[in-house]
Structure formats: C-alpha cells, structure tokens
C-alpha cells in the first residue's frame, strides 16, 4: 500500500488559482470547482467576474430570502450585481469571449493533454445525454484558459494525458492546469511543473502523471 500523497484541499486549490489572478483582470469562472475561486480572491485586488448568461461585475450569492431568479449566473444560481456591473444579451456575452476581451477563463476538466487540448463536456458514455453549453466557446475565447481539476480520476488514473480519449472541447487552448498536487503549464513544448504541494517529491508527481513533466524554475 502506497502512502497517500499530500494534497491541496479544494479551497487551497482555489486559493492557489486566485493568487495568479492579477488586479484588474476580467475573469469567467466555470461551473464546478472554479466557482470556489471567487471566495479566495485576495482582499484589495479588484477582479471583475463575467458569467456567460449575460452579467459582468457579478457579486456573491445574496443573503437568504433575497434571491431573485431573474439575477442568476451560468450555473442558474442566484447572484448579485456589484456597482459598475451590467447586463447584456447572449450574443454580446459570447462576443466578450470569442472576441478575446476576457483575460482569464477557469474551467473544470475530465482530461487535459500535454499540448493543452481540453476535454470537459462529455464522457462519450453510451446513452449519455450530450450537453455542451458554453464550454467550447469559453475554452477558445479568453486570452488565457486555465483548468482547475483533481490530478487523478476517482479510480486513480491521470487526468493529464498524452491524447484526450474523451470527446474534445477545444484544441491547444489550455495554458495552465491547477490540480490538487501541482500547478503545471501545458502547451506546444509539453508540460512543465510550476508549483507542487508541499511535501510532494517531483518523482512522486511524475509517477502518477501520464505525461512527461519538465521541471520549472521553482
């Protein structure tokens, strides 16, 4: 039996992503794990959140009893609007993405390849109802697409892969992956480790990762 690897918690992962989002960024946080990032943006850093259903300057969830279901995010959860925020229709919303006006988009993923291919919308399982939503638009639209995901599947397989076996969301669109074990840059030159959870050896990380990892200057 192997000793369990040290891991970041989901909140620590979110905080690690938040650390890299600079003041003044316009950011779209995908449904799932990435939504946690909003709770960890450092105080004093002004970051504008966009949600693709048609809101920019999105604030936190309202107090209980003050939910307004005309004011929701892309996960259809009630949110609030901060001063300076605005509403717009869907074509404008996706123009913000496709047009390269968003600085950062953070998405969840099933698999990411060494070159930054992303699979995050469909497992391709027999009988599964396909649903894509804004995933493909988000993946290719922002200036930087980041992924936040567990390093391994529930059955212990690497989610960083040579080639995605699940249906693709986008090609060579991801630039950095934040997992519960490490922060890894991906792209044309392959994968490079930027940061690792404390107490984890590079060899241990490589042993559970299905693609060759380079060592970054950390």
């Amino acid at each position: 039996m192997n000793t369990p690897l040290p891991r970041w918690t989901r909140d620590q992962m979110a905080a690690r992503v938040a650390r890299d989002i600079v003041d003044g960024s316009v950011v779209n946080l995908g449904i799932g794990l990435p939504t946690l990032i909003a709770n960890h943006l450092p105080v004093g850093r002004e970051v504008i959140l966009q949600s693709e259903n048609g809101i920019i300057g999105m604030g936190p969830a309202p107090a209980p009893g003050h939910e307004d279901y005309d004011l929701t995010n892309a996960g259809k959860q009630p949110v609030t609007l901060l001063p300076g925020g605005s509403y717009f229709h869907h074509a404008d919303s996706f123009a913000m993405m496709r047009g390269g006006h968003l600085d950062i988009c953070v998405l969840g993923a099933f698999q990411v390849s060494a070159h930054g291919d992303l699979a995050n919308w469909h497992t391709g399982a027999e009988g599964a109802i396909p649903a894509v939503g804004g995933a493909m638009d988000l993946a290719i639209g922002a200036k930087r697409t980041l992924v936040m995901m567990e390093h391994l599947t529930k059955s212990g397989e690497s989610k960083l892969v040579e080639r995605c076996t699940y249906p693709l969301t986008g090609l060579t669109c991801v630039s950095r992956v934040y997992t519960d074990l490490a922060v890894i840059d991906v792209g044309p030159t392959g994968a490079t480790v930027v940061d690792m959870v404390e107490g984890l050896a590079f060899e241990q990380l490589q042993a559970v990762t299905a693609i060759p990892l380079g060592r970054g200057p950390h």
Partner: protein, 232 residues
C-alpha cells in the same frame, strides 16, 4: 395607428402553423416566457422545431410541450438538466431530433439571422465532434468552422416593459436570448409586465427597438421559480 398590443397570449399565437420553427427565450427559468409556452401548448401546433438554450425542466412549460409529442426537433446547447426527464426519455427513444450547438454559436447563429448574415466562420468547436462534416477554413492563422444562421417563424420572449410600438426593456439576466431572438423571427411575440405610453420608456434604455417585435402581450408579474421576485 400602430398598435402591437394583443389582448391575450392565445390571440398572439393563433396563427402558429404546424412545422413552424419557434424560438423560445430564457436561460433556465430566467427569461423563460411561461405564459407563451402554455398558450402554444393550448394552441395545438405540431411538428415544431424549437430553439431554446435548454430542453425543458420538470413537467411544465417546454417540458410539457415535448412530453405531448409536439416537438419534432430541438436546437439547443444544454439539454441535460437534473429535471430534463421528458427530453431524456424522448431522446433515448429516438422520438426527438437534437441539434446540439455550442452556446455562443447558438447565440451568434440567431444574431446572424436577425442581421441578414447567411453564415460566419468561428473558431468555437473546431476539431470537435460538433464541427464534424462542417466546412472549415484557416482565417488569421486560426482554424475556423462555418456556421449558418438560424431563422425562425416565431419567437416567444419575455420582456419587462413595452409600448404599442413594440419597444422593449428587460429585467436583469432574464434578458439573455430575448433581444437576438426578437431579431431572428418573422413574428416576435413578447410578454411584458407593464405596458406604457409611447415615450415613457427612456429611449437611451430601450434594448429592443419596436421594429423587431410584432406582438406584445401584458401578463401579470409572478414570482420566478425558486423564490424572490418581488411583486411591484
């Protein structure tokens, strides 16, 4: 005199034909024109092609229309929901056709129709199964996919305030597909919670100018599902 105010949802939808392509606004329940969907259900048109971001929730509204076998095909981006059981069943039984479209492509294809654009190239979806069989081209160093406009016979949308020329304002994120669907259909029917005199809507704040709208129906303001909508 121009007067687009129609007295009832039934009157507004009386001429919807079998086989019509019907755009329905809304993202989840925000902006979903419940009263118009109910009226379409009562009206009886069959063999419909529905364009909506989703494919119905629960047992009412669009889900009821699907369950009644009235929809031949749905064009949407996100059919799968925790409560999309009617769509799921029909899809698995092969009784409804699905055209799955990335959400931004769906929005732009609708906008293109309204703007008189036949088709456009977009990087979204390139290299994925949703672009299979579609024309591609390298533009500006980036591979892009040809996507065609989606036109509709009828658009059913929910707005907030309107006047007899059909000028509309919306409320918060309930705006979503309303303005672009209004542009893409031959006949756009909008519900509003308040009908005002011409000139009462701030011209700087009109979102959909009236020429995009053919019929306006006043419906009572009701709580959107979940809670919270404060009655005026």
């Amino acid at each position: 005199m121009i007067d687009k105010i129609v007295e009832s949802t039934a009157a507004a939808l009386a001429d919807v034909q079998d086989g019509a392509t019907v755009m329905i606004g809304g993202f989840g329940t925000a902006g979903l024109p419940d009263e118009l969907i109910a009226a379409l259900m009562d009206q009886g048109a069959r063999d419909l092609v529905v364009v909506n971001n989703n494919a119905g929730n629960g047992d009412t509204g669009l889900a009821a229309l699907l369950a009644a076998g009235r929809v031949r095909k749905i064009i949407c981006s996100f059919p799968r929901q925790v409560d999309s059981h009617h769509f799921d069943r029909l899809y698995r039984e092969g009784r409804i056709e699905l055209e799955l479209v990335p959400q931004g492509n769906l929005a732009e294809r609708i906008r293109a129709a309204g703007a008189g654009i036949g088709a456009f190239f977009t990087p979204t979806g390139y290299g994925t199964v949703l672009a299979e069989g579609k024309e591609t081209r390298e533009i500006g160093g980036r591979m892009q996919v040809l996507e065609y406009a989606i036109h509709a016979d009828v658009a059913l949308i929910k707005a907030e305030r309107g006047d007899r020329w059909g000028n509309l304002t919306y409320r918060m994120t309930a705006r979503n597909f309303g303005p672009i669907m209004a542009m893409a259909a031959k006949c756009t029917v909008a519900t509003v919670h308040e009908v005002v005199e011409l000139g009462a809507l701030d011209p700087e704040a009109v979102v959909t100018p009236g020429l995009f709208v053919q019929r306006v129906v006043l419906v009572p303001r009701t709580a959107t599902r979940g809670a919270g909508f404060k009655a005026a």
